[in-house]
């Protein structure tokens, strides 16, 4: 047997072999394909200004949107609480999709159940499914709380979660005391971030109301100057760790409300436990007595913030994802203001080191034209980061950007932020647009870099622009979510990712005299 025959080729190289190339050509006779000329013309046309105009004029079809549906966010939110089982009321396929989607991003299990509603439930309602589902899931997976969200099916037929849960208690399937939080999350409203918000608000309000505690901000017996912290729909487990580091440096007590970092970064120990970490359920009512609340995704957490400032009567500092030096400065100021504690020297020192790193790299970043895609709060952070490094945001697409906070719309804030710097002067913010719009933008008005999720890779490839993977979902790179992108350390990570991509590009494109050793 020759060595060559034992050479094992997989799909990355096998289909480049001549016999497969021939197969591909031969198959065309049955495909009735368009001619090569037609295809070439259509490709050229798809890159043209004329096509772009048509693309931006379409009214109804949505092509490659950058958003998922509400209940996906709710599942993530539920996993932020200790021993809480996400429970999806509706068709079981939705739950299978949420579990796969989240697992593909985090490379971690996503425990979540559904009521497996079928045709009969469509006609008669899903109450029996919900009651049976509660009985089975509590027996099997032994959660300390169940957190139910709805799908579009349950919403269209108008299932009433509150009365169904009540009936489950009357039937004795769960006890009167057993905690079941819930929220309504039709997939035809909002996106994954609104669903996240709905479930966080659902859990906070449910656990608070049933505790009978009356909120007295700043009065907690053992909480002292305790602070509440919300990270939002957070695809980076590393961001939780970074925030903990910052809060520890301040030496302040705090409660993270909704911490899924344990579930999405659990250790391989030889045993699977279903639930890892998360906000303790008993800490939620106590959180109503904290001094104030720090929210790191103000557009995502709109309703939760309203609830906390309204019902809990708390002072809220609502920021967007704190990226970059200035974004982190704002974060530290907000913590300082809420707690009355000074910014610790260790963080000031860290700031200096990261600013030093930015100075080292700035020549490679300066003037780089950038396209950005993401959720509203992430984009605000990214725009800020770009502007302070001398990178120029050019195209900004936000499929789920129609969110406002205190009557400030995402688009207005993004544009106001861009107007603060000459580096933002060329930027256009496209709200409610999709990645097919972005493709036209990239092809008609080229940039140097694209920053966004894995879904942006198709448009970036068509435009031959390197993609820096940031946000959600990141399916095609490993472990990105383990490293923070917030705080000074996160800024350094982001900087390294970007500058080293640019340097790699120089090496890839150069040879001979400018294939340089030192950069």
């Amino acid at each position: 047997m020759s060595k060559d025959e034992l050479n094992i080729k997989d799909n990355t190289s096998l289909f480049k072999e001549e016999r497969y190339v021939q197969q591909r050509e031969n198959k065309k006779q049955f495909e009735a394909p368009c001619s090569e000329q037609e295809t070439a013309e259509a490709l050229a046309y798809s890159k043209s200004a004329e096509y772009m105009e048509k693309n931006f004029n379409r009214q109804n079809v949505v092509i490659n949107p950058h958003k998922a549906c509400q209940p996906l966010g709710s599942v993530m939110a539920a996993l932020g609480f200790e021993k809480t089982l996400p429970f999806v009321h509706g068709s079981q396929g939705c739950n299978a999709y949420f579990r796969s989607h989240l697992s593909r991003h985090f490379k971690e299990p996503t425990p979540s159940v559904s009521t497996s509603m079928t045709e009969d439930a469509a006609v008669f309602g899903g109450m029996n499914n919900l009651i049976d589902g509660l009985e089975n899931s509590v027996a099997l997976y032994k959660p300390e709380m169940v957190a139910i969200c709805t799908t579009c099916m349950a919403e269209v037929i108008g299932d009433d979660l509150n009365s169904f849960i009540g009936n489950a208690r009357i039937k004795g399937v769960i006890s009167e005391e057993y905690p079941v939080a819930y929220c309504n999350t039709p997939s035809f409203v909002g996106s994954h971030i609104t669903g996240y918000d709905a479930m966080i608000k659902g859990i906070l309000s449910y656990l608070y109301t049933r505790s009978g505690i009356e909120s007295k901000p700043g009065s907690g017996a053992d909480s002292g100057e305790k602070l509440n912290v919300l990270l939002g729909f957070e695809p980076y487990t590393g961001n939780f760790a970074e925030l903990r580091k910052i809060l520890a440096a301040f030496d302040t007590k705090y409660t993270i409300l909704g911490d899924h970092s344990g579930n999405y970064d659990s250790p391989a120990t030889g045993e699977y436990e279903y639930y890892y970490g998360g906000t303790k359920l008993e800490d939620v009512p106590q959180a109503a007595n904290a001094l104030g609340t720090l929210s790191l995704q103000k557009y995502t957490l709109k309703k939760t913030q309203e609830y906390i400032s309204g019902t809990w009567n708390q002072q809220i500092s609502a920021l967007s994802t704190p990226l970059g030096i200035k974004g982190t400065d704002q974060l530290l100021e907000a913590i300082s203001e809420l707690t009355g504690l000074p910014v610790p020297a260790s963080l000031t020192e860290e700031r200096g080191r990261v600013v030093d790193a930015l100075m080292d790299s700035h020549p490679y970043l300066h003037g780089k034209r950038v396209a950005l895609v993401g959720d509203p709060d992430l984009l605000i952070g990214l725009i800020g980061f770009c502007l302070e490094t001398g990178m120029e945001p050019v195209h900004i697409v936000c499929s789920n950007g129609d969110v406002d906070y205190n009557e400030v719309k995402f688009k207005d804030e993004a544009e106001a932020l861009l107007a603060t710097s000459p580096y933002g002067s060329e930027a256009t913010v496209h709200v409610g647009k999709d990645l097919w719009h972005m493709r036209s933008l990239l092809l008609n008005d080229t940039v140097d870099l694209a920053i966004g999720s894995s879904h942006l890779k198709f448009a970036a490839k068509d435009a031959d622009v390197p993609l820096i993977r940031v946000g959600f979902p990141i399916f095609d790179r490993h472990h990105m979510h383990r490293y923070p992108i917030i705080g000074y350390q996160g800024t350094l990570n982001l900087l390294s990712l970007i500058v080293n991509t640019i340097l790699q590009q120089l090496d890839d494109n150069h040879s001979g005299f400018n294939f340089e050793l030192v950069r």
């Binding site: 047997m1 025959e5 094992i8 080729k9 997989d10 799909n11 096998l14 289909f15 031969n26 198959k27 049955f30 495909e31 394909p33 259509a42 490709l43 046309y45 048509k54 379409r58 009214q59 079809v61 092509i63 490659n64 998922a68 549906c69 996906l72 429970f87 068709s91 079981q92 396929g93 939705c94 299978a96 999709y97 796969s100 697992s103 593909r104 425990p111 159940v113 559904s114 497996s116 509603m117 079928t118 049976d132 589902g133 089975n136 899931s137 027996a139 099997l140 579009c152 099916m153 269209v156 039709p186 997939s187 035809f188 391989a268 120990t269 030889g270 045993e271 198709f458 068509d462 399916f475």
Partner: protein, 485 residues
């Protein structure tokens, strides 16, 4: 070995004890331990294709996943509208690895998410008008698209939209096939009904609509190969080398024209019987085309299948077949000689969709591995009956097993390799159990045919024998064994 009949019966019983009474009674019907008797007569007592229990973490998906995700989605030159809210299309976007040649967004629309993105107003007023506009916009955006399919999500059926009428009208206006597919997720109990509905739509809207320039005695179709990691290509190359002419490939790397001309074939070769048996049955009745189920996983099954296929043709094809087997056998033997010593007697548990739990058994056995538990997500009775004769006595057969059941069985049987999907994968990593994602070949592949078996063997060795598993102490719940000393 984990193949003791009585022990395994007891084991299943113990595992099911955790359920409440009603659910336990139901789950009991979905298990069987293979006995000599059952294997011989092929009678399977396992209940299948019935509703999953609510609240149990079933591995199953829905009808939409079966239609858009499996059958229609891979047809590359048509645009498939995920009609309804944004989620379903988003989650099924590019995640099933149906490789297809062509230029994405120009003459190939597979790894794209095209949706009507229903908002509240669409639920209230209906989405029909919007759907018509979307179809016009699709022809503007994708001038080379050959057709459109409408993949209904849950709300579309619930609010009573008439997608059939819109499709009919727009098909005339736009002069292209437009196929309404009623695959709302709440229909049926799993992906399986979605396959059936999708097949019916192919039958009703595209089958027999085009002709071949010339037909020949060796024209065959590949049915039910989704070209995961290039599987269909690795299969097709063998059929063509044998002298057959593959005129249609359903549906991985498939095109509208192939759907339309397939009725001209002399033989249907079906790989995934579960998802496309409706098609071959229909074509047999309507066009008199015989069909044969084949299995291209592992050399033993591949030789068997190639010979069975050749037997339906003349001596030329049969000679070609034998020549081809003689040519590849030494390579396959060398692969087995290399990997078998590393994999001999390792125990395997499989829980895959509707075909591979059965079809891959031979490939594992070629490598000396023992299947000790095997189950399907959405199989029917005939799948279990076909699987039984392939099993050893004592093997646990399971239908729609829940996450909890799989985890318990893995630990108690001290399994060496689990093959299942992405939802299951990372659980086994926590447990320190070698795991291979068998829906998408864990981003490897192909696994079909001779080229595919090489990759399969390498991947199984890599998985079972990776030193990373030694870095964690596995906690097992091994069955108490009788004292051997």
């Amino acid at each position: 070995m984990g193949l003791n009949i009585e022990e395994n019966k007891k084991l299943v019983e113990e595992v099911l004890e955790a359920y409440p009474k009603k659910a336990r009674k139901d789950r009991e019907k979905h298990f069987q331990v293979a006995t000599d008797n059952a294997i011989d007569c092929g009678t399977c007592a396992v209940k299948s294709n019935i509703k999953s229990r609510p609240g149990v973490m079933t591995p199953r998906g829905c009808a939409y996943a079966g239609s858009k995700g499996v059958v229609w989605g891979p047809i590359k030159d048509m645009v498939h509208i995920s009609h309804g809210p944004v989620g379903c299309g988003q989650y099924s976007w590019g995640s099933r690895r149906n490789f297809a040649n062509g230029t994405l967004g120009i003459d190939n629309f597979t790894a794209m998410q095209i949706t009507s993105d229903f908002q509240e107003t669409d639920i209230v007023f209906g989405g029909d008008k919007k759907l018509a506009v979307i179809m016009r916009e699709i022809t503007e955006m994708f001038p080379l698209a050959k057709g459109i399919s409408v993949q209904s999500e849950c709300p579309v059926g619930l609010i009573g939209d008439d997608i059939e009428a819109v499709s009919k009208k727009m098909s005339k206006e736009l002069d292209m096939p437009i196929v309404p597919v009623r695959c709302e997720g709440f229909r049926g109990v799993s992906q399986s009904l979605g396959h059936h509905i999708a097949n019916d739509a192919i039958r009703d809207f595209v089958m027999g609509r085009a002709e071949l320039a010339e037909t020949g005695p060796y024209d065959v179709n590949i049915i039910g190969d989704y070209n995961i990691g290039g599987d269909a290509w690795a299969s097709r190359i063998l059929l063509e080398e044998m002298g057959l002419r593959v005129i249609a490939q359903w549906s991985g790397d498939g095109s509208l024209n192939e759907l339309e001309v397939a009725h001209k074939a002399k033989l249907n070769l079906i790989h995934c019987h579960r998802s496309m048996n409706y098609m071959v049955d229909h074509m047999e009745k309507a066009y008199g085309i015989p069909w044969l189920e084949y299995n291209f996983f592992g050399p033993t099954k591949t030789y068997e299948s190639l010979r069975a296929i050749a037997a339906l043709f003349d001596a030329t094809i049969q000679e070609n077949c034998e020549k081809m087997i003689a040519k590849y056998k030494p390579v396959m033997d060398a692969i087995i000689n290399k990997f078998r010593p590393r994999l001999e007697n390792k125990t395997v548990m499989l829980m895959i969709g509707g075909l591979r739990s059965r079809h891959t058994i031979g490939a594992y056995e070629d490598l000396g591995m023992d299947i000790v538990a095997s189950g399907y997500e959405f199989a029917h009775k005939d799948d279990y009956e076909k699987m039984l004769p392939m099993l050893q006595e004592g093997t646990i057969i399971m239908d729609d097993p829940t996450a909890y059941e799989l985890e318990e069985l893995t630990q108690r049987m001290n399994i060496d390799l689990v093959g299942s999907g992405v939802k299951e994968k990372y659980v086994y990593h926590k447990m320190g159990v070698p795991f291979r994602q068998m829906h998408s070949w864990d981003y490897s592949g192909p696994y079909h045919g001779f080229d595919g078996f090489k990759v399969f063997a390498k991947d199984m060795d890599m998985t079972v024998n990776s030193p990373v598993w030694d870095l964690v102490t596995r906690k097992s719940k091994i069955q108490p064994e009788e004292a051997s000393i």
